[in-house]
């Protein structure tokens, strides 16, 4: 039997809590600080503008491309991004968009490039978003984020008693902040795809937390003499193998997406990559130790955890059935 983590292992996770929190806080301060100081780099679908993806037959220099277009009003303060390593594919971003159906932005670009590069280029993609619909996308994105958070919060609070719910939510916020911070630090744009990825992380990262919490609860119930610290350490240790494995398999695919998925999936897969790592880390090092922030037993004796009968039944069923 191949094993990454030996069965029966017991690690003192609780003692690492302070260190973990310090690391997280530093990462969040650096990341979010960067975001606040530099401002979020919004994709054109949120702020409006035009991006034009070009492919040249031969490698060219970015400066050549810039020289060709800098005299045009539309492209004078445009940003040029070199995609891949071949020096053949570039994206030109401009803040300008047009609602006119008769004259397009790329019609202005084509002659500029033609006079310098002849027919050695082609336009692969044009993405133009007007300011009005950019606002609609922003609004929809915000609605989706808020709804997802509310839905997950409802799920967690139905599933757990307040102390556990608090830990799970804290871990969730931690993951979102870390991911957003890293995206900003590494210069990724916030696009619709990236927002989708962040939401996916919200859904995904709760899972590990739920599994670990269930095991901790089971520990407390089966042995009332365990101290809170012991219960947490045992619960996390026993589920460690599966926590690492499940994160690992998902990371394999996300890493493949990041490495081989091409430019279009870069931002999205980067967000997923950071989010999944952060989610796994936070379930172990953030969510679980926060259970100790409240005084008293993790699960008060006699009085069952959940108030409604339905959930009393469900929890009893869980505890009978589960283990992770």
């Amino acid at each position: 039997m191949v094993q990454i983590i030996k069965p029966g292992i017991l690690i003192d996770f609780v003692s690492k809590f302070k260190l973990a929190v310090s690391i997280s806080i530093i990462l969040i301060i650096v990341g979010i600080g960067h975001l606040i100081i530099k401002g979020p780099k919004l994709g054109i679908e949120f702020k409006g503008g035009t991006s034009i993806q070009l492919e040249f037959d031969k490698p060219i220099k970015v400066t050549q491309l810039r020289d060709a277009i800098k005299d045009s009003k539309i492209f004078s303060d445009s940003r040029i991004q070199n995609i891949g390593s071949s020096n053949k594919r570039f994206i030109v971003y401009t803040k300008v968009s047009t609602s006119s159906t008769t004259k397009s932005i790329e019609d202005t670009l084509k002659p500029l490039l033609k006079s310098k590069f002849g027919d050695t280029f082609k336009i692969l993609e044009v993405d133009m978003v007007g300011p009005k619909i950019g606002k609609e996308f922003r609004d929809k994105g915000i609605i989706a984020i808020v709804l997802s958070l509310i839905a997950i919060l409802i799920y967690i609070s139905l599933r757990f008693q307040y102390r556990f719910a608090f830990g799970a939510i804290l871990a969730l916020i931690h993951d979102v902040l870390i991911t957003v911070g890293f995206l900003s630090l590494f210069g990724y744009e916030f696009t619709l795809d990236v927002v989708a990825a962040i939401l996916t992380i919200v859904g995904y990262s709760v899972n590990d937390t739920i599994v670990i919490f269930d095991r901790i609860r089971e520990k407390v119930k089966s042995n009332r003499k365990l101290s809170n610290v012991e219960a947490i350490n045992q619960g996390v240790s026993e589920t460690l193998s599966r926590t690492v494995l499940t994160a690992g398999t998902t990371l394999f695919v996300v890493l493949a997406l990041f490495l081989f998925g091409g430019h279009a999936l870069k931002g999205m897969s980067f967000a997923l990559l950071v989010g999944i790592i952060s989610g796994t880390y936070s379930s172990i090092f953030i969510a679980s130790p926060t259970l100790l922030l409240f005084k008293g037993q993790l699960i008060p004796e006699k009085k069952e955890v959940e108030s409604t009968d339905r959930f009393k039944q469900q929890i009893e069923f869980d505890i009978k059935q589960r283990g992770g």
Binding site: V2, I4, P7, Q53, T101, T102, S104, D107, I123, L124, E125, V126, D127, M128, V129, G130, K132, I133, E136, K140, A144, L147, S148, A151, I152, Y155, R159, L192, D193, V195, A196, L199, T200, V202, G203, Y204, N207, I210, V211, L245, G248, T249, T250, F252, V253, V254, L255, A256, L257, F260, G261, G262, A264, L265, M268, D318, Q321, R322, G323, G324
Partner: protein, 534 residues
């Protein structure tokens, strides 16, 4: 074997067969599917998966209908009608100004004492309006429900017109749908000349024939001496050799004689000394009668052919024109004539549209994306497959089969639902691949624990599945909630991400639990192994 195992096995085989049949055409391509259909008859599905524009190239366009302008048209008609009625009642109005923004008409009277009389006329003859202010100026407002109705009709009519035009492009499976209040989303897969298509769709194509007012000199009119029922329009001439554009002003009667909605058909013809293309149009019976009567009484006068406020030509009426046929000449290229005929045939837009979003993706980029997406998926899946076999041996192989089945179900369901596969959708599939084996990891870890505390193989498997089930449900539900929200609120590509993930997660419960358990049951019953390859 037990009956319950038999039933499970049959269900599993049925699922594999059904979803497999739907996935097959996508995998083997349309050609081979045809070949198979010829062999076995038309029993198998032949549809392949619907690729999003980001994967096959094409244009995605979001148009906004300027409903205020449609409103303005209605208001101006009412305003001129009102002006006439006031005139008939001998009430002099300084100005009658319609405003599309707030759906009002402001009436300033020369003598404020006439206000009561004017309000009376309005109340009696304009039931769709309510009087907001009776003082000077009088302000009347179009009723809210009428405003809504006009706007709604404008959008619906615009969709119909645009759909007519799109259908003449000859692209396969175009879509034109309404989104939100006044947005129209147009998807044109595989369109070659995107900018020409945009021009065609955006053209208001309001054709009107106006009488040229020869009694007013153009120079006078340009200096501000314009009779109230006249307007200045320009003929735009382009020199075919130098490309130079000149604008020639004309004074025409404001009221059109013929409007575009009287046109029933239009097509390209060739004629003249140079055999140049021109557009011939046909009018409905009402238009034909007006046209015949008008031309009979205005021989020798000029008639301006106006499209979207620009004069194309202003020929002299030589004789009465019966039969409801007319022609538009100009220095057209064949393409221009063809496009003009197309927009005239498909009708005019009730209000101008503007572009809110435009995404054009070249077919080559779509191919690159598919290649990269495929590559990423294969590498990711391969890593997972090998790892699972390495870590869990035969049981790992079983989990890999479950994962493959999951992918087949995702593709099959998408074909069945005619859902669209996008690039983020591919990422969604990749992600579910990772999560699909998660469920089996949960189960297997539990089985290992049970084996470690000395349970028999049979018991360990059964308790392992039973105990991991709720955890698997948990894991899938939280992500499913998000996937559904993404499907609901996402646009295009993100929607694709939501749908593949939602299907994948639902399928996961079947493949990771029911499917693998069935295989375990069969193996345990048939071979009664003492040790498990896990």
């Amino acid at each position: 074997m037990k009956t319950s195992t038999w039933i499970k096995l049959i269900i599993v085989l049925l699922v594999v067969a059904i979803f497999g049949a739907y996935t097959l055409p996508t995998v083997i391509g349309k050609k081979n599917t045809k070949y198979i259909s010829e062999l076995v008859g038309d029993v198998l599905p032949t549809d392949t998966i619907n690729l999003g524009l980001d994967l096959k190239g094409g244009m995605h366009l979001v148009l906004g209908v300027e409903t205020d302008k449609a409103l303005f048209t209605v208001l101006s008609r009412a305003a001129s009608n009102l002006q006439q009625q006031l005139l008939n009642a001998k009430i002099a109005a300084d100005s009658v100004i319609p405003s599309g923004k707030d759906a009002t008409i402001k009436i300033t009277l020369v003598d404020p004492k006439d206000a009561d009389k004017a309000v009376n006329i309005i109340m009696n003859n304009f039931p769709n309006y309510k009087v907001v202010s009776e003082g000077q100026p009088i302000v009347i407002k179009l009723k809210e429900q009428i405003v809504e109705k006009i706007k709604k009709q404008a959008v619906e009519q615009a969709i119909n017109v645009i759909r007519n035009r799109v259908n003449q492009f000859g692209v396969t499976e175009p879509t034109v749908v309404r989104a939100g209040e006044d947005h129209i989303v147009v998807d044109l897969p595989g369109i070659k000349d995107a900018n020409r298509a945009v021009k065609l769709l955006g053209e208001t194509a309001r054709l009107e024939l106006h009488l040229v007012d020869d009694s007013v000199s153009v120079a006078d009119a340009l200096n501000g001496n314009l009779p109230p029922d006249d307007e200045i329009l320009y003929e735009i001439k382009r020199d075919p050799t130098t490309g130079e554009i000149t604008k020639v002003p004309f004074v025409v009667k404001r009221e059109p004689i013929i409007t575009g909605d009287m046109i029933t058909n239009a097509h390209v013809m060739f004629g003249g000394t140079l055999n140049q293309p021109y557009v011939a149009f046909e009018l409905n019976s009402e238009g034909a009668k007006i046209f015949a009567d008008f031309t009979a009484t205005h021989i020798g006068k000029r008639l301006a052919i106006v499209l979207d406020n620009a004069i194309y030509s202003a020929p002299v009426i030589q004789s009465r024109i019966g039969g409801g046929r007319g022609e538009i000449t100009g220095n057209f290229t064949l393409e221009e004539a063809h496009d003009l005929a197309l927009v005239l045939r498909s009708g005019s837009l009730p209000a101008p549209v503007k572009i809110l979003q435009k995404v054009t993706i070249g077919p080559s980029l779509g191919k690159i994306s598919i290649e990269k997406g495929k590559k990423a998926m294969i590498f990711g899946a391969l890593a997972v497959i090998l790892f699972m076999i390495f870590y869990y041996r035969l049981s790992g192989l079983l989990a890999d089969l479950a994962m493959a089945l999951n992918i087949i179900i995702i593709f099959g369901t998408m074909v069945m639902l005619h859902a669209t596969l996008t690039l983020p959708g591919l990422a969604g599939i990749a992600l579910t691949v990772g999560m699909a084996v998660d469920a089996n990891v949960l189960i297997y870890e539990r089985i290992r624990e049970e084996l470690l505390i000395g349970r028999s193989v049979h018991d360990a498997v059964n308790t392992g599945y039973a105990r991991a089930f709720i955890t698997i449900l948990d894991a899938n539900i939280t992500t499913l909630i998000v996937a559904l929200i993404l499907y609901q609120f996402g646009s295009g590509p993100v929607k694709g991400f939501g749908i593949t993930m939602a299907i994948g997660l639902l399928a996961n419960i079947f493949t990771a639990v029911t499917f693998t358990k069935t295989v375990f049951d069969i193996v345990l019953e048939k071979f009664r192994p003492q040790r498990l390859s896990i």
